[in-house]
Symmetry: D4
């Protein structure tokens, strides 16, 4: 009966942790409370660490009622279980942001990487309009195993970083900006067109994807 | 009779030098030989310095036949009369390019500014993937009255320059790049979205416009 | 701990006034009250004149609590400290708008230029659908050192101005319009494609950028 | 048999002249010689005046072999039979172009209108970068029954014209320009966003459509 | 003083009725109450018929307080004075809409034309998915002097109309639709690409522009 | 009188069921309560099964007051009369969704197909990030007469399905996603560019269109 | 060794006929002669009917040398083996084109459907600018099992067809047109936005996809 | 003198190998023979391994004249010196392509990675329209340290790969396709919108960037 959707609407990918190293991450937009409760119940039982992205405070409350260990970062809209706190990666993941308004996306990347078992260091608000701020952080960045560079507007930061260090650089465009920035499309296209060689890019505002990708790269 | 277009197709703006400081510049694409000859004849007679942009070698030959003082820069596709060599501007116009492939556009800006009576200095191939190259030129840029920054791909160079100097910075996106560069649209949008304050932008590959704008700014 | 972001999220560019002539301007969107208070405290202490752009009334209230000298222009969404009222520029900056609905962006440019030490004159609502209104202002525009031309819809005003005067013309597209105007993209692209030579362009609705650029051009 | 397409590929709309006032116009791109010969044969027999648009010199030759009265304007890529030379419209159609490079599109409009029985006057190369050129033509434009305004680059001309006269103004964007002009898309969008009221627009480089529309408006 | 904008923000084009046949029309979005009151006061005193487009109910109330003869059509968001009720045009303006959801835009065109002194006939909801509805109205359309065809979604209606009648056809795309309709851009581009010859087009949802254009065409 | 629109605004296509097999479907956005009541009254009287798409809860209430047999699926925004419950199609229509957030669009397709007389089977949340979920459903899909594949984000699911089965595959892009997903445009373009041969596509979020198309294909 | 690519560059999908009803179709663009020869050899041996799309005359010659039974349709750029001439489908596939310039795409659809075992009927050049041409073919279209409607420019034809018949309608946009047609994007988006319910769409100029899809729908 | 550009047009980034692990790579488009000879001479002297991308056969010949050890892969448009053949990376880089037409881009990635000191394995033509081809390669992919997935058209391959393995996946969109593929933009956007978590993306046809990024990830 179409008016009473049942739970077989959700087919959790229970095998995902074995295959790709982390359990299925909950993408919250558009999910009903019932769906969230259903997914949360099965995920929280099966895994020590869990992530739910783009989660509203209301959705967080629904899932927190299932398990009160669940934490929340409001700016990053991330809900997460972080019970297994072992650090597994080869080295440190450095997260650089261009502006202070890019911090929510940078935090989504940072927490994602932490919950997936990585050591993370944050270097925020050091964008190219005041290039000395980045330069003074160069030794820190050279020490990292992977660098995530988060920037909105013209998205120039990853190009400069990519020309300075030899480790993987993951560029994250944000939707910070207006007009010709086209909700982040410009930063995205700029990063893809970078003159610094061997930089890779994730979707606009996709801190989660960057953190996950960095974790893949940092794995033993 | 539609098959025999006559010269009243062209209404040269004879008053333009008085109004805006330089005679009407010939935009060559699509012009017939007859039109070019007609315009050249009247312009060369009336002005000592003349510019013709996006000029093919064939079109140059047509106009050179009118007046053999006409010069040509093939890379920049500029034909020009540069008889009045007085330098009129307040200071120097510095032209910076990100890559060596951006040189044709940078030269279009440089020659335009020179023909309009400005002293020009060139600093090419010092883009952000090797940021030390730009840094070593900083004193030169600080000495200029106006800086033109030419870049393709992600177009990041003007942002860095704009954060380092206090004089006007004119950003020129080039169509150098491929894929997500979208024939220069990405560099254009990036420059418009720059986090460095008070940068202005001209059309893609519009070295001419940048040179002219710099000349407006450098005028006494 | 990700849930308690600390102030090292913000790395103010304390050296910016020395480099580019004016202290770092606060871009308000997305900033938390805590971030604004933190930045305002350090900026207001160090500088006599300060700008905060795209500032909501609520954000203004937060910063005003830090220093009650702070002023606000609601239409332009500008908060500003304007204590040092010396006029430093070479000449006058004229600001022209096409329609009366473009006034908020024009005012953002005007106040920015004033706070940065320039004399400003305003000529609003003189767009091309009634071209005589512009013509009657021509002597005023010819007297200015720099002209800022603000227009939405098809963005034709800067082309006409650029063909009439010899000083720098900064074109500012606004997002006024609908449908094919594409939130100002059309006015932006039109200005970049202008047939009037040597016009430069800033981002859509970027009155701040235009005012800052004009100030760079008007500096001694 | 798929390899031998027969003439029932073409179903000429023989009734069109009765319905809309002019016989079906041949759109040449992609048509084979055989198709052109077939269509030309039937059209030339049935009508005194005929148009074929976007016609290559080779395609013209093919059709001229059918009937040697056929004329050709190479710039406008128009082939036409203009045997019935009666002038039928209420008044004159004035055609204004911004630049001399817009002349081919303007000529396509002009010849279309002439072949459809209208008196046409041409005013070319009077664009907005030298606004006095247009102003000096104002009495001529006020006398026309319909004005077609052809412009590339930022496409500003029809806005100015539309604010000066009370008769219908048909705006024709051309693909003249580069970069941000986007092959005429910018001029098109600008004309659609015009602040001058009651202007209508046709497709990029569609001189034919403008001439036809003007003819509809000028009909008794 | 920037915080107290004065009325010289608005420069009404008092001469417009003489030039183009109707007084300046008020574009309401973004106008403050003070601006509206100021403009309304001067316009209502000088003209018998007045139009204000895209007017909110609140804005209507502000202007109605100036003069209670002002009328309002909420769907079309039009406020209007219609005191001079003489019919001046040569014939009738027929307005056709594809769907019933296109009616607000069609009404904006209809009332505009009426207030400008034209006789108007309405034929709504006769789009191409049920083509017989249009066919049964063909005699009515053939009787009109000008036809305005309003359609959203794929915007096919004007093509069919344009192939059936010989009078001017003004196509109005609406933003009705979703997804690939791109807020009316698709209908707009489709109408511009029409295979029916000599159709002209106005901006998306621009019923006002269509009504004004039709009035230009219908004038004696 | 423009202020009192009458019912001849709506011209229901009463003959549509005879022509295309189902009565005119009500497209609710923008319809007034009066219009809905009018259309509903005539449709409910003439047909046993009726559909109203993109219907808000408030609009549903208005129509339900006309006839209380009307049902509603809030997620799919569908109101429907489903009185004639005969199953008429040749076989089963299988509906596959990539994620659980795509379910509302999938349900719009499912209910549309059911109300039009088809047997429907649902297989939700079996997208390509966990490809085994799809593989385990292959026998079910091979049994269907038509498969509808609903997916957001990168829209890859229909390509995989289209390479596995021989029956018609209808791809439905959803607007689920963010950033580079461009409100579903990316999924749409991806499906149209599919390397799996002979897949067809409907508009973004157009579950209704997919259900109707499947019904056309499944008809005897 | 990178300079000598071997045949394991190509992994023919030998099982495809069993799964989806027809052998892998060769997509020719970018394929080297060696690759084509290799694929052709294995396909021609294993299957009686074979298709190669977007095949240049030179590529056809290469494959014809492998097997001289191979046929070619130059307009449709199709190479094909059509040895098994049994007709397998339930009914007839009707192919309608709007213009005569759309015939190459229509022929690609027609031959694809024929080679896949279907009876095909062609009705070309009956587009909406002369709607009576379509109306006179209505009985033929009502008799077909599936209708493919091919149109360029504004792509209106499938909307009218879809409102007239109850069988599946597959819309094929072509790249015929210019300017606002955007190489067929406009026709594509228009078809996706169609007001006629239950129409499905394939990629621009994808006659092959339409023919394959029709064959899926016509299968027993 | 503008007509004789000198070598200071090129400022080679001689320090790049120290900073990012590999010498500056020559981007050939638009470079003159003189520039290429100049750069080649200095690079070949200083480094054992060198890359020049998007190199035409003519440009290759120019550089080969400098040093005959230079090799060339015509499909990938890569010129390269590969003298230091030590394998330095932690593991193997697997390169997967969807179609055989994607091989040139895949080879650009493969050779780049090899020249940078990595062991590479190639698995070509195993795209999602025949998903079993990929499945049979799963053990090979699970063994790799990094996987590069190259695909055109809808770009679905990286999503499926990303859901199957835990190592880094670099997605490379190619411009293979037509129409809605938009020269690879669609594949690019689809990869960025992937539902498989933690995939990163490079520019369209940027095999070089993917090979370089993989090398960064595979470094010890
Ligand atoms: N195929 C390529 N795609 C993107 N960037 C490249 C490519 N080849 C070289 N580069 C980068 O482009 C820069 C060269 O720019 P240029 O100074 O114009 O030669 C180098 O720093 C390389 O990092
Ligand atoms: N969800 C939908 N998507 C696309 N078209 C629809 C939808 N619902 C109804 N329609 C069509 O839209 C037309 C109604 O338009 P209108 O006259 O504005 O109500 C009907 O003829 C239906 O075929
Ligand atoms: N923020 C995110 N961005 C992109 N993909 C995500 C995000 N969060 C979760 N996902 C992916 O989206 C899929 C969930 O889709 P669904 O079945 O609709 O819940 C999961 O398989 C995740 O891999
Ligand atoms: N004209 C076409 N349009 C779209 N897809 C096609 C076309 N021709 C062949 N194909 C598909 O493209 C795939 C071939 O890709 P490739 O491995 O690069 O040859 C085949 O699986 C066909 O299903
Ligand atoms: Mg900052
Ligand atoms: Mg370089
Ligand atoms: Mg005004
Ligand atoms: Mg001119
Ligand atoms: Mg309707
Ligand atoms: Mg799921
Ligand atoms: Mg035809
Ligand atoms: Mg293949």
């Amino acid at each position: 009966m179409p008016n009473t959707p049942t739970h077989n609407e959700c087919v959790p990918d229970t095998d995902r942790e074995r295959r790709i190293g982390f359990a299925e991450v909950i993408f919250c937009p558009g999910k009903t409370d019932e769906q969230l409760r259903h997914i949360a119940t099965s995920l929280f039982a099966a895994h020590q660490n869990v992530l739910a992205t783009r989660c509203t405070p209301e959705q967080f409350a629904v899932m927190r009622a299932v398990d009160e260990r669940l934490q929340y970062n409001a700016a990053a809209r991330l809900a997460f279980l972080h019970e297994d706190r072992r650090v597994l990666g080869r080295g440190t993941i450095a997260i650089v942001s261009a502006g202070s308004t890019d911090v929510p996306v940078a935090e989504e990347a940072a927490i994602t990487a932490e919950v997936m078992g990585n050591a993370v260091k944050r270097y925020y608000d050091i964008g190219v309009a005041g290039i000395h701020r980045l330069m003074s952080r160069l030794p820190d960045l050279e020490d990292a195993e992977v660098v995530i560079a988060v920037a909105g507007m013209e998205g120039a930061l990853p190009s400069v970083v990519g020309g300075l260090i030899s480790r993987p650089v993951i560029a994250v465009p944000t939707s910070i900006g207006y007009g010709a920035n086209l909700q982040g499309i410009t930063a995205l296209l700029a990063m893809l067109s970078s003159c610094a060689p061997g930089i890779t890019v994730v979707n606009i505002d996709n801190g989660f994807g960057a953190g996950f990708a960095a974790s893949r790269m940092n794995r033993n």
